[in-house]
Symmetry: C2
Subunit: 249 residues, 2 copies
């Protein structure tokens, strides 16, 4: 197994960091790694905001739901879908590009572009013995986050990534069975085998939690998902995304 695959398979989210900032060289290498990812039709439809300011980080931590590792880390990156520069280009070329820029298709393009770049950033960080965790909690209160980061129209903060020197060694979380996620030639829709795969997975996850907590935590993956699904979250998103100029038509 080569070192790239080793790094990939060794991933675990780090939520506790040493009090040691990343160097400018590390930040630059992480951003350059992000930029090296594929981009749809060369569109490069994202931006990255690196937050160093302590007060801003503290505020972001509160907005993200009180996760202290949003404030306490080596560096905090915010990945944004960004068609702002494309809007400027359209203006320069005297084009009305709004139909295009505001389409659901372009929304998907920007989100995918940003996510590909982000995963490169995370792997680059991990390869430098740093740890990282994605912060989807940034979407809890995106209007406040946007104001804080002063993002213009056609820019949408999607998630954060806290990066730093790891101060913990968490276990890995086991993924869904290969056969459940990977389909050959077409989507396998046999519900019986689908549900039995989930049952088997539940047993594995349940055994893992039991073992890790000395029998205290009784939980399954489908149980976690059922709880997650029972709480509609961030239902303001559709309206907010549209207000920012995305996903309107």
């Amino acid at each position: 197994m080569n070192s790239v695959i080793k790094t990939i398979l060794n991933h675990r989210s780090i939520r506790k960091f040493e009090d040691k900032p990343l160097s400018d060289e590390q930040i630059k290498l992480i951003v350059q790694s992000a930029q090296a990812a594929s981009t749809s039709s060369y569109i490069q439809a994202y931006s990255i905001i690196g937050v160093k300011d302590k007060e801003k980080k503290q505020k972001l931590a509160e907005l993200a739901g009180g996760q202290n590792y949003v404030a306490e880390n080596g560096h905090f990156f915010v990945f944004c879908a960004d068609l702002h520069r494309h809007q400027l280009i359209a203006d320069q070329y005297h084009q009305d590009a709004s139909e295009n820029l505001e389409s659901t298709e372009k929304f998907m393009v920007t989100v995918i572009d940003a996510a590909l770049a982000a995963q490169n950033a995370v792997l680059a960080a991990e390869s430098m013995e740093l740890g990282a965790v994605y912060i989807g909690g940034l979407r809890n209160q995106l209007s406040e986050v946007s104001s804080l980061l002063k993002t213009p129209s056609h820019v949408l903060p999607l998630f954060g990534i806290a990066v730093g020197y790891p101060a913990q060694e968490p276990d890995q979380k086991q993924r869904l069975p290969f056969e459940h996620v990977y389909h050959e030639d077409e989507y396998q829709q046999d519900q019986t085998s689908y549900l039995s795969q989930l049952k088997e997975y539940d047993q594995q996850i349940s055994a893992y939690y039991e073992q890790r907590t000395n029998g205290e935590r009784k939980d399954t993956w489908t149980g976690q998902m059922a709880r997650l699904l029972s709480r509609p979250t961030r239902m303001y998103m559709k309206e907010f995304v549209e207000k920012k100029g995305f996903n309107k038509r």
Copy 2:
């Protein structure tokens, strides 16, 4: 520079492959690498369809706009946003999760989840001396692609990845200037410097094309973007995505 960052920075999309299929071991390692990526709240909201069937690949190549490397490669992966298993879980737990599953927020979660996994897959492939290219063209005719791959409701094919043994060595495409993509503490909105960065980038890109084509191709990045923006594409997407159970509220 470590080998992970070397692999990341060495990326270029490969569009011509040797006629040599990936082994099952290679496919499995690529999928396992994909699955090792972070996933929002452990939701694992994607599936991967690996297409081996030659007729299906040929059909996908036509649907994607006649790109022959969609058919001629070592393996063709289709990454799908997938909340189908979550719908089944909600049913099993006697929950009505439709508000949640159909939200724009969950649509973003699934697209980000799938893209993070995909980028791991691409890097894993590249680390094995394979080449890869994302196929956004799969979204040209997504209804036909969905039928061909028999994806159920709450499953949305997002893009393909053609992987294989490279039969070409393309140049790298230079990215936007670091300062243009990376903002410190807040989004830099000084339009003058923003536009001058784009102008400088245009000059670099223009010199690159001139040099590569012996002066034949005159082009800039903003010129390419202006052409891209002048053609609204895949405007059916909003309706189609909603029909599949995503992004409705």
